[in-house]
Assembly symmetry: C2
Homo-oligomer: 252 residues x 2
């Protein structure tokens, strides 16, 4: 590709395309990698990188590669998901961690995935795959089942039509998962066992906004050898309710 | 102001000016507020907001105001301060919290301020003023004294020339603070008492990158009535050293 690819694009959209070249798997990129991923000419990319670096949206490392800059990080912290949800939830997540010493997680739904907003874990917690900012499938995680149980019908149908196995224990039968989602709504919590990571199980409960919409889910992830999983459900539900109350009291 | 203010600006810099209208005190803005803060015409601002909203850099709320979007939050999580420093430090911060049940903080220096990257605290921890993304003065905080003790001479001189009191206990005598910074380097930790917030004291220690530069500081903030502050220093230093080791082992 020699010139700028595709239909005429605005300068703003080109600058955003440079930023969009970065993702979880590409957090450190060279000029030519950025140009290729953004579909832009090298000269255009070089000029945009100059402006974005001067503004500290990006940073140039000693080896010549580019990374997301501190200013963009700082700006991102002003997003409601961080400023409102994460701040409101953190003390209660900490309480839940204190009471259990297990992995504690907070996630929201982003399209057909669970997006992890916070995770607390100590030395004694079982190793798991989540990290802040990571997307995991809705049908294979505790938070995901909670979020899916309260998602629009069309989304549920789309997810149930394509249940990819993550482990040999992932629920891939749509009839069984649909029944489980009903159980989640009725009981107020979801569970998983070996479905995302072999050797771990989880219990998750919904966080509701002042309008009654489920906007997030909190989960506890522990070793599958722990026989008292259902006994952890009340603690997770109490923490999720506490965040729900906090969101209601913070309403402007 | 009728048209776009100031010297000719590139389209990219105008889009960035729209983003720069948002900060801690202005996390939710209307079209006209953004135009005014960015120094742009309403029509220009409106067009840029359309592009930035379509990309989810910003989100438009039901009341017509704009907030930072989830996509910018997500992109910001890829910054090294989050992806490398915060991720490397979190387990050790959690260990320090487990051992003490006090506020645990991680900060970096940004110009003449301490920028808080992480904070853990439970119900039992003393209420304090920090939050992730907040800037506090170097001379009035424990992490700030550590970062200042390892800052370039010119920056130390500039900070010492303007020691504003935050409380009646803030150190505002440059001779005394310079002596304290020497103590911090010699002993390996800093302390504060009532200097940022009346009723709290803190102890802080440096985190060093593989090149030997101090890149961050970890602190414990507790009630000033706790008489054993110096006895908490080893725990904070051990945690900071653990993060230093982790950064060294993660070196690519």
């Amino acid at each position: 590709m020699v010139g700028d690819a595709g239909a005429p694009r605005s300068v703003t959209s080109r600058a955003l395309a440079v930023l969009a070249a970065f993702d979880e798997a590409h957090s450190r990129l060279t000029l030519s990698q950025i140009a290729r991923r953004a579909g832009l000419a090298l000269t255009t990319t070089h000029r945009l990188l100059g402006e974005l670096t001067a503004w500290q949206a990006l940073e140039r490392r000693d080896d010549g590669s580019y990374v997301i800059g501190r200013r963009l990080w700082h700006l991102g912290l002003l997003a409601p998901v961080q400023l409102e949800l994460r701040q409101a939830a953190l003390p209660y997540l900490q309480d839940l961690y204190d009471a259990t010493r297990e992995n504690v997680q907070l996630a929201v739904r982003e399209a057909a995935h669970a997006l992890y907003v916070e995770r607390l874990s100590g030395r004694a917690s079982v190793p798991i795959r989540t990290r802040v900012g990571v997307h995991l499938p809705l049908h294979a995680t505790g938070v995901g089942k909670v979020l899916l149980a309260h998602a629009p019908d069309e989304l549920v149908d789309a997810v149930l039509a394509d249940l990819a196995p993550v482990t040999t224990h992932t629920v891939t039968d749509p009839v069984r998962l649909r029944r489980e989602l009903g159980d989640v709504r009725r009981r107020g919590y979801a569970t998983t066992a070996h479905e995302m990571t072999l050797g771990t199980c989880s219990v998750a409960a919904p966080v509701t906004d002042p309008g009654g919409q489920v906007v997030a889910a909190i989960s506890l992830v522990t070793t599958a050898s722990r026989p008292d999983l259902a006994q952890l459900a009340p603690a997770v539900r109490v923490a999720a309710r506490a965040v729900t109350r906090r969101l209601a009291s913070a309403r402007p």
